[in-house]
Each structure stands twice: as C-alpha cells, then as structure tokens.
C-alpha cells in the first residue's frame, strides 16, 4: 500500500512538472507574441516616419518648382497636383503614425509644427483654375495668378525655414521609435532566454523526478518480490478480512495447504470454516469476528476470548480422505484513519504441538495415576486389591456382555445404558473405597460417556464406539494395577515369597467369577474397606463422622458382595447428602461429629442390614421438587405423591437431588444399584427418616439367597 501511494505521488510530481513546462512555454509565447507585435508596429511606424522625414524637403522643392513655373509662365497644373498629393500623403502617414501611438510626445511635437505649416500651404492647395490670362500679346499672370504666386512664394519662404525644423521633429520621432524597437527586441531576447532556461530547468526537474520514480518503482518491485517470497515461504496462513468479513486479494501460500483450496479471494470467513467445524463453533467464530470490528473492543481482551485459539478442523488429506488438523487463529486489527480498516488473520498449524501436548499430558496423567495407584495400593491390603480386581473384572465382563447384546433400534441401544451405569458405579465405589483413584477416575469418565449417551435423542452403534474403546483402556489399566500389586506383594514378601506372590492376570475373557473363588474377600476386609472409605469421604467432603460397624462377621459369604455394594453406596450417600457440615450441626444443636451406623444381624429366618446416619434426613418435599425440576415427574404427579412414595424416588434410576455430578454423587445410580441388588436376591428395602434427625435404611435378605449366591 505504501509503495502505491509513493508511486502516485511520483506520478503527480512529474505531471506537475510537465504542466509547469507547458505553462511557462505558453506564458513565454504570449509575452513573445506581444513583444513581436509591438516590434512589428514600431518598425512599421519607423518606416513611416523615415518616409515622412523626406516630405518637408519635397514640399519645399515642389513649392520652389511651382514658384519658378509661375515666374516663367509655364504650365503649373502638374506640379500643383504633385504638391497636393504630397501634402495629402504626408497627412495620411502622419495620421498613421499618430494612430500607432508609439511615442505620443515626439509625435505631438511634429504634429504641432505641421499644424503651423499646413495653414501656409492651404491657400496654395486651394487654388484651382488657370493663373494666366492669355492675350494677343502673350500670356501674363492674372490677378488670381499673382495672388497665387504670392501665396506660393510665402509658403516657399515658410517651407525653407520650417522644413528643417519639421524634419528634425520627425527625426526625433524616428529616433524614439528606434529606441523603443531596440528595447522591445532586447526584452524579447531576454524573455526567450528566460523561457528556454525555465523550460530546461523544469525539464531537468522532470527528468530527476522520473529517475526518482523509476528508483522507487524498482524498490517497490523488490519489496513486492520480497513480500511475495515471504507469503510463499511462511508456514502460517495470512490473510486480511474486510468489513464484510471477506478475504482480501492477497494471502500466504500456506493457506492453500491448510485449507486444501485456493479460491480465497472474496471468500466469506464463514464459508472458509463451513463443513470443517461444528455448526455451534462456526457460529461462535463468526460472532467473534464481528466483535473484532467494534471500535470499543480491546484487542488484548478479545485475544483472551478467542474461540479459535485451538480449532480442530477436518481437511482433505490429499489422498481422497479426510484428516484432522489443529489450527490456531490469531487476529490483529489493522487501524486506519477512520477506525478498523482490516483484520489481519494468522492461521498456524499446531497439530504436532497439540498432539505432543496431549502425549505429554497423557504421560503425566499416567505418571500421576501410577503414583496414585502406588499410594493407594501401599495403603490397601494387596489381597483386598486383588479381590477388587476380580470383582472389577467380573463387573466389566458384565459390562461387555451388555455391550454384546444385539441392538439395532434406539430402544435396544438405550436399554443397555441403565445396566452399564449400575455396573460402572459399583466398580467406581469400591475403587474409591480402596483409594484406587486412577481406576475410580477412569470409571467416572466412562460413566460420563454413558450419561452423555442417555441425553442423546437417537442412539446408534456408532455412539458406542468411544465407550468400547474406553472400556478397553480401563481394562488395560486394571491389568497394570494387577501387575503392580503383584510386584508390591513380591517386595513385601521378599525374594522367597516372590514365586508365590504373582496374582492371576486379568483379561476380560478370563476373569473369574468373584463369588465362586475369591481368596482375599472376607468380613474383616469389608470392615476395613468401609472404614477406609469413610475416612476418605470425610476428608473429601469436609465432614466429620464416626462409622460404627456391627455384626459384619455374621455376613454369609454369599451376601458379602451385595452387602459390600450396598454399604459402599449408602455410606457415600450418607457422607455427601446426610451428614451436615460441622457448623450446620452446631447450629442445629447436634453433636459436631456425626454418627453413621451399619448393623448386620441374623434373623430367623433371613438377615437384616440396618444403615443409619444422624444427618439431615430426607425431605419428601425436597425430593418432589427435585423430581419436578429434573422432569422425572410433572408438578401434578409430584403433588399427588404421599411421603412414602416421595421417599421411594431415591431408588429411581438416574434420580438425584444434586444439580452437578461429582466423583461420589449426582448420577442417581447408587441407590438404584442398592435396590436392584437387594431385589435381585429376593430381599426388601425400607427407608425411614426424620428430617433434621436421621435417615435409616432397613434391608432384609432371605435365608435361601445366601446359599444360592454361594452356589
């Protein structure tokens, strides 16, 4: 842009110089013409004056000749006519010189002399007829003739004295005209010289300007070449957007490679990204570009909200397929005198950086999870971990079985989701209880995926591809946990025990049934597991409570797994929803440290598990409100529920009073899992509560189920 402005200035200067040359030439020609005209007039007047100078002498001679002819009585007509013609010519020429008005003073002097002279000649010239009388004795002057003679003589005498004076006056006119002509000629010469000089100077200036312009053009061409080279070589895509959000006429070559097209001129920014990014991202990007044109928008602030800082786009890979790339868009406003003139857009391909960052993050996460895993396993009993791994393998096998069930319709796909949620929630609960957070977090992410699928309007097999990949990743992680547990056991037992410490390898197809053979799981393990979970939950949620466990030794082996699952879920519920923070408990005049009791006892027949916390209790109204808020029930349906039915809402799959999902609550899966486990064994579950005082769950299990579960 700067080059073209400079070029335009150069052109204007040269045009100005040419116009000045032309103007000078015109002025010189006009002035020269006027001077030449003046000289020509002066020369003509000079010629006239030169002729006039001879007239006084001629008139004098003609008067003398006329007088002599009258004396000798000769014919005078011819001389008289000559005199008359001479006087008339003199008058005419003098008038002509006067008209030119070249030197009025000198001419006026000559004219005044002539005015004295002319009256002397007037009677002579007025004479007509014959001056002679012819008689028989001969001819003689007649009376008129004598008078005529006297007039001729007097005029002759006057002429002899006046002729030199008049001649002198006319000579003076002639001299003045000569001087005037010479001066005009000198002026003309000077004018021509000055004109030529001015033209030469202007021509030199024009030549200098032309040379400068040529130099500037050369520099501009070089600069353009350099700009072209930069645009061809630079790895970022550069282009300018105009006020209509369209791409300008110049862009860097890299843009072609980045977007797999070359028709950028005039292309709308929206079109550039259409079909390459999701519709909502595109809409956000367009809004952002519009904001950039706002005069008040601050560039630094705008930069911080750039939605295209890292954009994943799908582009042609050159082999007829598509590939994903990560692009970084950077925007800078180009300011003009009237505000934002353009927006410069720089697009960089940051795919390798993003992938590297992901790999690094993955490596870091792996390192952290390994560390977490190590810490968790150091805290936990290896046999407990081994039992958990068996249980998790069985759970994941069930997950895979659910996945394997044939499905073609949305309903068939949707049917899988509740089962998947329950299995995963159960695994997560136990992993968290053992502080195996790397496992718990992975299961939590898998649960997130299932929750996302639940929210989708139409499900297909494609939606389950990421789930199966995540499931595989979880299994791989569990294999790593198992290997590490084996190493820890071998370290604890020393070289002698190394041979016996190896734990069975986990593979989904080879997972053993947890109930059938589970060497580590026992009532004592369950107690320790629940104590550990209680401590962790109290720490995580900033609560203080004591866990009292009674009768766990009474749990038959067949119910151990169910009791464990139920106890974990109810304990998490008590810690998250039930037990209040210390301040709230103090304000409610309750002991600062809450109490959570789990009591298992043998009945006759069957068994009973009572789980109670002295927390906030359940509010039927709050449960109904949550059900309406989450569209589980209509307001009318909720109003029609009695307290008992309202409390039963907590067992509904996917129902939770919490608005957000955390590691320990919010999915509405835990109590569903408890209820299904209990009902699955033919048991019953009851809930009673006193808001602000306690919540109690009473689970009864049949006697026959214990044996059946073992079998």
């Amino acid at each position: 842009m700067q080059f073209s402005r400079s070029d335009r200035n150069g052109r204007l200067l040269i045009a100005g110089a040419a116009a000045a040359i032309a103007a000078v030439m015109v002025l010189v020609l006009i002035a020269g013409f006027r001077l030449a005209t003046e000289i020509r007039a002066s020369v003509a007047a000079l010629q006239g004056t030169s002729v006039l100078q001879t007239y006084p002498a001629v008139i004098s001679q003609q008067l003398t000749a006329l007088r002599q002819r009258l004396q000798t009585l000769e014919y005078t007509g011819h001389v008289h006519r000559e005199l008359t013609r001479t006087v008339r010519n003199f008058n005419l020429r003098l008038a002509a010189v006067e008209r030119r008005n070249l030197d009025p003073a000198a001419i006026r002097h000559a004219e005044s002399l002539w005015r004295h002279y002319a009256p002397q000649l007037a009677p002579v010239l007025a004479f007509s007829g014959e001056p002679y009388d012819d008689t028989d004795t001969g001819s003689s002057l007649s009376a008129r003739g004598r008078k005529y003679y006297d007039q001729v003589r007097q005029a002759g005498i006057f002429a002899q004295t006046s002729a030199p004076v008049l001649h002198g006056a006319l000579a003076a006119v002639s001299a003045a005209l000569q001087a005037r002509t010479s001066a005009a000629a000198a002026r003309l010469r000077t004018l021509l010289l000055a004109g030529v000089l001015a033209v030469v100077l202007l021509a030199l200036a024009a030549a200098y300007l032309q040379l400068s312009r040529a130099r500037q053009q050369r520099a501009a061409r070089e600069a353009q070449d350099q700009t072209r080279d930069i645009l061809k070589t630079v790895r970022e895509g550069f282009f300018l957007l105009d006020a209509d959000y369209r791409i300008g006429a110049v862009w860097s070559q890299a843009l072609t490679h980045l977007f797999g097209r070359s028709d950028f001129k005039g292309l709308a920014f929206e079109e550039l990204l259409r079909d390459k990014v999701p519709a909502d991202t595109l809409a956000t990007a367009v809004k952002y570009i519009k904001l950039l044109w706002g005069e008040r928008a601050r560039e630094n602030l705008m930069k911080s909200i750039n939605p295209l800082g890292q954009l994943e786009v799908s582009v042609d890979n050159g082999r007829g397929g598509k590939e994903s790339r990560f692009l970084q868009f950077d925007f800078h406003r180009v300011m003009g005198p009237k505000g934002v003139k353009h927006v410069l857009c720089a697009v960089g391909d940051i795919t390798s950086s993003v992938l590297l960052a992901r790999e690094l993050q993955e490596a870091q996460e792996n390192a952290h999870s390994q560390l977490d895993m190590m810490i968790g396993m150091l805290r936990a009993d290896p046999l407990q971990v081994s039992a958990f791994l068996d249980s998790a393998a069985a759970g994941l096998k069930h997950v895979n079985t659910i996945m394997k069930e044939p499905a073609r319709t949305d309903a068939e796909f949707r049917k899988k989701l509740a089962g998947l949620s329950r299995e995963l929630h159960s695994i997560k609960g136990e992993a968290a209880a053992l502080s195996l957070m790397s496992v718990a977090e992975r299961v939590h992410r898998l649960e997130d995926m299932v929750a996302e699928l639940t929210a989708k309007s139409e499900l297909t097999g494609n939606d389950f591809l990421p789930v199966v990949l995540k499931l595989d990743e979880l299994l791989a992680h569990l294999r790593g946990v198992r290997e590490m547990t084996a190493r820890l056991v071998s370290l604890k037992e020393g070289p002698a025990g190394a041979g016996t410490a190896s734990l069975p390898q986990l593979r989904i197809g080879e997972a053993r049934e947890p109930q059938a053979e589970r060497p580590g799981r026992s009532c004592a393990d369950l107690g320790a597991l629940l104590e550990q979970l209680a401590g962790k939950l109290a720490l995580d949620h900033g609560k203080r409570f004591a866990l009292k466990l009674t009768g766990l030794t009474e749990v038959p082996a067949g119910y151990l797994e169910t009791v464990k699952d139920c106890a974990i879920q109810m304990l998490r519920n008590a810690a998250v929803h039930g037990i209040e923070p210390c301040e709230a408990r103090r304000a409610a005049a309750k002991p600062e440290i809450g109490e959570v009791c789990l009591q298992f006892r043998r009945l006759d027949p069957g068994y009973e598990l009572v789980f109670q916390d002295d927390g906030a209790g359940l509010s039927p109204e709050a449960l109904k409100e949550a059900a309406v808020r989450k569209n589980v029930l209509t307001a009318e349906e909720a109003a029609a529920l009695d307290n008992r039915a309202a409390l039963a809402l907590i067992f509904r799959p996917g129902f939770s009073t919490r608005e957000s999902v955390s590691m320990d609550a919010g999915r509405g899966t835990g109590m569903d899992l408890v209820a299904r486990s209990v009902y699955g064994l033919g048991g019953k579950i009851g809930v009673s509560t006193n808001p602000g005082r306690f919540t109690r769950f009473k689970i009864t299990l049949p006697a026959a189920g214990a044996a059946a579960a073992v079998a």
């Binding site: 007829g320 397929g321 996945m403 499905a407 796909f413 899988k416 097999g461 389950f464 499931l471 197809g509």
Partner: protein, 148 residues
Amino acid sequence: MLREEELKTFVDGTTRYFEVAAQQPATIGSPYLLEGDVTVHDYTGVISISGKREGVVYFTAPRAMLTVLLMKMQESDFSHENMRDLVGEVTNTISGNARKDFGHDFVISVPSVLTGEKLQIPHKAGMRSFVIPINWRSHSAKLVVSLT
C-alpha cells in the same frame, strides 16, 4: 492405544461398501470387546496391518447375507467362488479406505479370503480386539479390528 478415528475408518469402509454396491447402507450394532476366540461366519476376508499399528482386521459374513447382497447387486451366480470374491471386495474396500485415511502410517496387506467356521485367525499377544456387528437388512456380519 487405538483411537476412535482409526476404528471408524475400518467401520466406514465396511458400511460404505454396502451403500455403494447395494444402494442400501449397513448400520453398526453395539461394539464389544472380543472374549476368547471370535466366532467367524462362512466367509472371512482378512487384511494384515503393520507399521504404526500391527495386527489384523477381518470381515466375516454368513452365506445368507452374501446371497442377498449378490441378489441386490443383480448377480445370478451364487457359487462359492463368487461368494469369496464378494467378501474379497468388501475387504478391499476396507483396506482402500484405511490407505486413504492413514497413508503411509499403516502398511496394509492384500486381502485374503478364508472360508469355513473353524478358522484360526492369527492373534498376537497384547492385541486388543474390537468386534463391530455390521447389520444389513435382517442379516448380521462382523468386523473385527485386532490391533496392537
């Protein structure tokens, strides 16, 4: 770790064949992890993969499904050879799609077609196998992606 895009490339290659050859797209069922040995159908097309990932990808379909597919393609030859050729074609499309998407990262073998239900597909240790049911009309085939 196998990525979703990689898995999708093989799936899309398979469903595209049905869409182009039979003008009736196939859908996929619920994918799952392979436990033990895969149950193969009558005809199985296998491609071996090396390079960035190693392993095998195979498409296995029952005779009934292939017969209907041939009918839909206006074929009247339902011979064993023609069935083999058809499975070979499907597998070819899968490998072509993979070549197109992965370029030089993956070295993909020429497809081979096996018949019978008692096949031993080479399975390397550490390989993870994903089974993706391919549903077309009332029939179901399987795509197995078994890569390191």
